[in-house]
């Protein structure tokens, strides 16, 4: 309990922090990355330090107050440009995630079905032995919650050390289509703009996106402008009304998959009305279509005439049929994009990414902006958001995907493999040329019996919870329980749906219990230091990877040696002596993160994603890449890529330069993709569209936020949102428990009619945060052909009154 002196102390600090945010005539303060935070209380052993929030991809910075080895206070960091001192309800509680009562504190091995405590030495030996016995059937599954050094170490261990490309992240499930959309359009991943676009746009279009709940601090940058009297029009395009709709000037309710038709319809009218930006298109763009046979992200060049021909059928009337959006609203959108005098930002996240046409819709929305010239000025931007704190930094930049290498390199390209082998000082040919299994395939192969070709036998999961997040859980995860030769290793903080089937559980350190570096949605790389010790024997994920690698080195695995015979993760002190970082008691004898980051940094220049030295990030609240050294030795970040006014890599004399163009001519690609209907649609047997997603109070699978009493009280259970008329027609009451069924599985849920989200008739929505109500038993594993990202936003389902089923039927 706090003593009264400290309470007074913290109360005055709370008032000072809040008071400072209401100054500057009511607007949010302008802040600088190196600004000191000098009005937080110190003394009495209370020490503050910066860290990015642990939750979403926004990348808010917090100040973490530590006293006597425990996090006791959280403040919004006023020196952080992202959040300017503000936090959302989850960020407000982030310190508490460390202190759930059921933290995992010892390694646990399942013996005869029962979890038994073992020591770390035994745990590391078990993992190394399984890998040594069958290195090619080992797979590593991580996430966008891996820090950059953790992901880089995992990547080097797998692709460099083991010559095994079966490493993939859960980010495959949330933003892979954004990646393929950026690469198809610009030849390089990640947004050109930044959050400043939200401060300067006249129109904000949310495409299947609910930032009011999922990225509330970012959304408040827009609503704050309104509160100051600025005119910002919000147009919400979605399949159900949300809190974002409540703030929108215009709500356009589309049929599932309607976004593809809407984007095509806008482009059709821009061409038809001759009000696209001819100068921008002629100077900076090509037209592109998919190959007729074996389509690729490269596509094939098409003429403007051919583009006009293909898009001609997407008239407002036709788009209305496909999307459900009235033709006059399609014209309204096209008129807005046809107006060069306004600035338009498009924002999207899971709605466009979890989509069997995810790459297509991402490319088409970029195309709308390029065709109309609404690109490259502050406020004129197509921008995707991420749901995890380092989906960009660790997955997209480090390249912890089954086909990728660090620095935008690809395993399939010999010259890229050679480059990486050079940086890693490995024997030529060490890196395997065949892409590994993407997430869905990895789990298919793990849950398929070995005798039937299931060639993943040992799977190591770090910082994610696939037992709750995979689609079609019955097929992709739950089948593991009957396979004795399959071995699941899970590094976790709390017991989860995934640890339920784990054979070996490793207790992990989290967030400020370890050093870390994240990369947020606007290309901002953010560093923090360890502030408190993890509980019990919990240890860093990065250490686990290095410890397994060293055990393999000791066992004689040749891949764990570089060309000079040294351990691939060798770190030496100033005298040249190797520091035994594989022994946890020596792991913090040096800053392993810094060593790994500096090694990784070499890769970042190859795609002009240049990072500054580690120590620059220690000083800053993040820096947006490319970060380039100036003549005076300082480091300058980049807010707007490809535009000459801000991007140092734009060729001299150019106003725009897409310098990683897939056509190698400095141009971006405007794609045509034909609309195709969703692969599974409601029918007589399964008459509803099922959409899944998130809620404000819980972060993803709720493993952290469900341990926070205020958040859990505010949102204690998952539910199914239904339209009142659908419920009435089915004689279903508010709060009644029903059974949601699809062709793949079922889930019992209470009904919420006219709740926070309001789906239209024929649609139901279920959030996935609740580990006791696994809606992903019902979802569809079908995925986009390029990104391999599954579609969690639409499948066919039915709602069954519980009383209408026999007990035996329910149990099936």
């Amino acid at each position: 309990m706090m003593d009264s002196k400290r309470r007074r102390f913290l109360k005055s600090a709370a008032m000072a922090a809040a008071g400072s945010l209401v100054t500057s005539n009511g607007s949010l303060p302008i802040v600088h990355a190196d600004q000191a935070v000098d009005d937080l209380p110190t003394g009495d052993g209370l020490v503050w330090n910066k860290a990015p929030c642990r939750f979403c991809g926004t990348g808010c910075h917090v100040q973490v107050g530590v006293e006597a080895g425990r996090v006791v206070a959280i403040a919004g960091d006023k020196a952080a440009d992202v959040n300017k001192g503000l936090l959302c309800v989850k960020g407000y509680h982030v310190g508490g995630i460390l202190y759930g009562k059921d933290r995992l504190t010892k390694p646990l091995l399942r013996k005869q079905g029962k979890l038994t405590e073992i020591g770390w030495d035994e745990a590391i030996e078990i993992i190394a032995q399984r890998i040594l016995d069958s290195p090619e059937t080992f797979a590593f599954y991580g996430s966008g919650q891996w820090t950059i050094p953790e992901g880089y170490a995992a990547q080097k261990f797998m692709k460099g050390g083991l010559g095994n490309n079966h490493i993939d992240p859960n980010a495959r499930l949330c933003m892979a289509s954004a990646v393929t959309g950026f690469i198809a359009t610009y030849g390089v991943d990640e947004p050109a703009g930044c959050y400043q676009d939200l401060d300067e746009c006249d129109i904000l279009i949310t495409w299947g996106n609910n930032p009011a709940e999922m990225h509330p601090v970012l959304f408040s940058r827009v609503t704050d402008r309104r509160s100051r009297g600025e005119q910002v029009t919000i147009i919400d395009i979605g399949t159900r009304r949300t809190r974002t709709t409540d703030a929108a000037n215009e709500y356009l309710e589309m049929k599932p998959h309607g976004d593809v038709a809407i984007a095509l319809g806008i482009m059709h009218l821009l061409i038809e009305n001759d009000n696209y930006d001819k100068s921008f298109v002629e100077k900076h763009c090509n037209f592109r279509g998919a190959e007729a046979v074996k389509p690729t992200l490269q596509g094939e060049q098409i003429s403007e005439t051919e583009f006009r021909k293909r898009i001609a059928k997407y008239t407002p009337g036709h788009v209305e049929q496909l999307s459900g959006i009235p033709a006059d609203k399609i014209r309204m959108l096209a008129d807005l994009f046809g107006n060069p005098g306004i600035r338009i930002t498009s924002l999207w996240c899971m709605g466009m990414n979890q989509h069997t046409m995810g790459t297509a819709i991402n490319s088409l929305v970029h195309g709308v902006h390029l065709l109309s010239g609404h690109f490259g000025r502050p406020g004129d931007a197509p921008t995707s958001l991420t749901g995890q704190p380092s989906a960009c930094g660790t997955v997209r930049e480090v390249g912890t995907l089954a086909h990728a290498l660090p620095g935008g390199r690809l395993v399939a390209k010999p010259e890229h493999r050679q480059q990486c082998e050079g940086y890693w000082n490995l024997k030529p040919g060490s890196i395997n040329e065949t892409p590994g299994y993407h997430t869905v395939k990895m789990f298919e192969q793990f849950t398929k019996p070995t005798s039937e070709g299931g060639d993943i036998t040992t799977l190591f999961v770090q910082v994610t919870n696939p037992g709750q997040t995979l689609p079609n859980l019955n097929a992709l995860f739950n089948d593991k329980k009957n396979l004795e030769d399959k071995f699941l290793i899970v590094s976790e903080v709390y017991p989860t749906a995934t640890t339920q089937l784990a054979d070996l559980i490793l207790p992990a350190a989290m967030w400020v219990e370890k050093n870390g570096v994240f990369g947020n949605s606007e290309r901002r790389t953010q560093q923090w230091f360890k502030m408190v010790d993890p509980p019990g024997e919990a240890r860093d994920d990065c250490w686990m990877t290095i410890a397994v690698a060293h055990k393999l080195f000791e066992m004689g695995h040749e891949g764990m040696r570089d060309q000079d015979g040294e351990f691939i993760f060798a770190v030496k002190d100033d005298e040249g002596n190797e520091i035994p970082i594989w022994e946890f008691e020596h792991y913090y004898d040096t800053n392993v993160d810094k060593h790994l980051f500096e090694e990784y940094r070499q890769f970042t220049t190859m795609k002009h994603k240049n990072l500054a030295p580690y120590d620059e990030y220690v000083k800053a609240r993040g820096l947006r890449w490319p970060v380039v050294e100036q003549d005076d030795g300082s480091w300058r970040e980049t807010r707007f890529r490809f535009a000459a006014f801000d991007d140092p890599f734009v060729s001299e004399g150019q106003d725009f330069d897409f310098y990683h163009s897939s056509t190698e001519d400095g141009r971006a690609q405007i794609w045509f993709h034909d609309y195709a209907p969703p692969p599974e649609q409601p029918d007589d047997e399964f008459p509803y569209w099922l959409c899944t997603g998130r809620v404000l109070e819980h972060w993803h699978t709720g493993t952290m936020t469900r341990r926070l009493a205020p958040l859990n009280r505010a949102m204690p259970t998952a539910y199914v949102e239904m339209h009142a008329d659908d419920a009435k027609a089915a004689n279903i009451r508010q709060g009644e428990t029903v059974l949601i069924e699809s062709r793949r599985g079922s889930c019992e849920l209470p009904v919420w009619i006219d709740g926070r989200g309001r789906p239209p008739r024929g649609t139901i929505f279920v959030p996935f945060f609740d580990e006791t109500k696994l809606i992903n038993r019902c979802t569809l594993e079908l995925h986009d052909p390029f990104s391999k990202q599954p579609d969690y936003k639409k499948c066919a389902a039915r709602v069954v009154k519980m009383a209408a089923k026999s007990v035996a039927e329910v149990q099936q």
Binding site: M1, L10, A17, A18, L21, V22, C88, Y92, P495, A714
Partner: protein, 91 residues
């Protein structure tokens, strides 16, 4: 016993919100601070996180309130909900 520093944003100037201000004055756990334009700084010092959340929800529901943001929060312990589901109790 949480302490939180919050910023309330109203849809118009703070002095045009007499009903909301009156409400805030009558909640003993709330201390009002600086106001500028349509923003008002407050501190909540409550006996429990439950009470803190009740106050938070009540403020959000006030007419004229369009945003409630956190500037600082201090806490000493989290009274985690008891949870008997099998996933929590597997170890």
């Amino acid at each position: 016993m949480p302490i939180s520093g919050l910023v309330i944003t109203f849809d118009s100037a703070v002095h045009d919100q007499p009903e909301a201000i009156e409400f805030l004055r009558h909640v003993s756990e709330i201390e009002m601070g600086q106001a500028a334009g349509n923003k008002l700084a407050i501190v909540i010092e409550s006996k429990s996180k439950r009470r803190d959340q009740e106050i938070w929800n009540a403020i959000r529901a006030l007419t004229g309130v369009i945003d409630l943001a956190v500037a600082l929060v201090a806490f000493d312990e989290d009274n985690e909900l008891e949870n008997n589901n099998p996933i929590r109790n597997q170890t």
